[in-house]
Symmetry: C2
Subunit: 159 residues, 2 copies
DNA sequence: GGCCGCATACTCGGATACTGGGTGTCCGAGTGCGTTCGG
DNA sequence: CCGAACGCACTCGGACACCCAGTATCCGAGTATGCGGCC
């Protein structure tokens, strides 16, 4: 099980966007995070499709969060990048082979699928409980309250 | 995020093995589950390397669980197949770019990495709480107590 | 001086190559059983 | 009749192709800005 690398970039980008009222171009986010600009842009498109960020074209265009950072969960971002499909997909092994279970007895999911789904729910719940605002606050705390101010200052500068 | 297909086969195989005292060849497990024999064998090798099953060669060889099914968690099986590496790997974005955090301030993991690790822990805990014996019991309950008996009967038959 | 139109530079968005891990398969090495031969 | 040696069939184990999703990149479409010209 491997999570796309873009998830990390998207989460950092959302935290950064939470510090700016004005649109921030993808190229600028890429510069700040030290990532390939074109590839980061691809993931930002996914965030846009998911309705997490709003994009504006033109000379002073860029990306802005569509709603307050406290209303965007880490789960929202992860699902936007990685998709909503669960990690475990039951292929209905029980309905194959010499001991195949007839279809009419497969109303409820396989017990193994239920266990895996419960684990996925626990994972999702943990991510749903964390918001972008929480992440920004914690990053700030890790740096004794200077990190987010530095980001705001850098975003305001002409680069 | 996508979980290897072999995880499903491995879990079903372990449940099946929990119903047999005698070694069960990979080909027989593949026949019961309707899976490609060679590919299933590959995953059983992983279970063997992880110490979950013991393999015996020779004419009446096959695979046997190394310990009671109640002492094998779903997490053990998943990790044997999928590896122990966490889904989210922090690439230390904070240490790159114009606002790079100096190394001496990176003693603790990034707040984002901590959040993702917490989610992974929740996922792992949910799987660790389920044993192969639990799964066998639930599958039996789903079938009104006939499934495991059918498996035992089929394994005992000469096929 | 104010307003309108246009060229411009910048932005996003999707379409296009490349690569690594998962998928699937095969054959060789090794082992325990059954048979057979000798005592 | 009993024991040991042999052959065998069956098993696992690792090494070898194939394919899709993630990785990375580029160029075209569209838009808000700023300037210049006109009234």
């Amino acid at each position: 099980m491997k999570l796309s690398n873009g998830v990390e970039w998207a989460l950092h980008s959302c935290v950064t966007l939470s510090q700016s009222e004005d649109p921030v171009p993808a190229a600028r986010l890429a510069e700040l995070h030290g990532t390939p600009p074109a590839y980061l842009a691809k993931h930002l498109q996914a965030l846009s499709r998911a309705g997490i960020v709003h994009s504006t074209a033109g000379q002073v265009g860029g990306y802005v969060l569509t709603r307050p950072a406290a209303e965007i969960s880490a789960l929202d971002v992860v699902r936007a990048i990685d998709g909503t499909e669960p990690a475990y997909r039951c292929t209905e092994i029980r309905r194959r082979g010499p001991l195949a279970v007839p279809a009419e007895r497969c109303q409820t999911p396989c017990a193994i699928a239920r266990a895996m789904a419960a684990a996925q729910d626990a994972w999702s719940a943990a991510l749903a409980a964390i918001t972008i605002a929480d992440l920004a606050e914690r990053i700030d705390a890790d740096s004794d309250g200077t990190a987010m101010a530095d980001v705001r200052r850098w975003l305001a500068s002409t680069g």
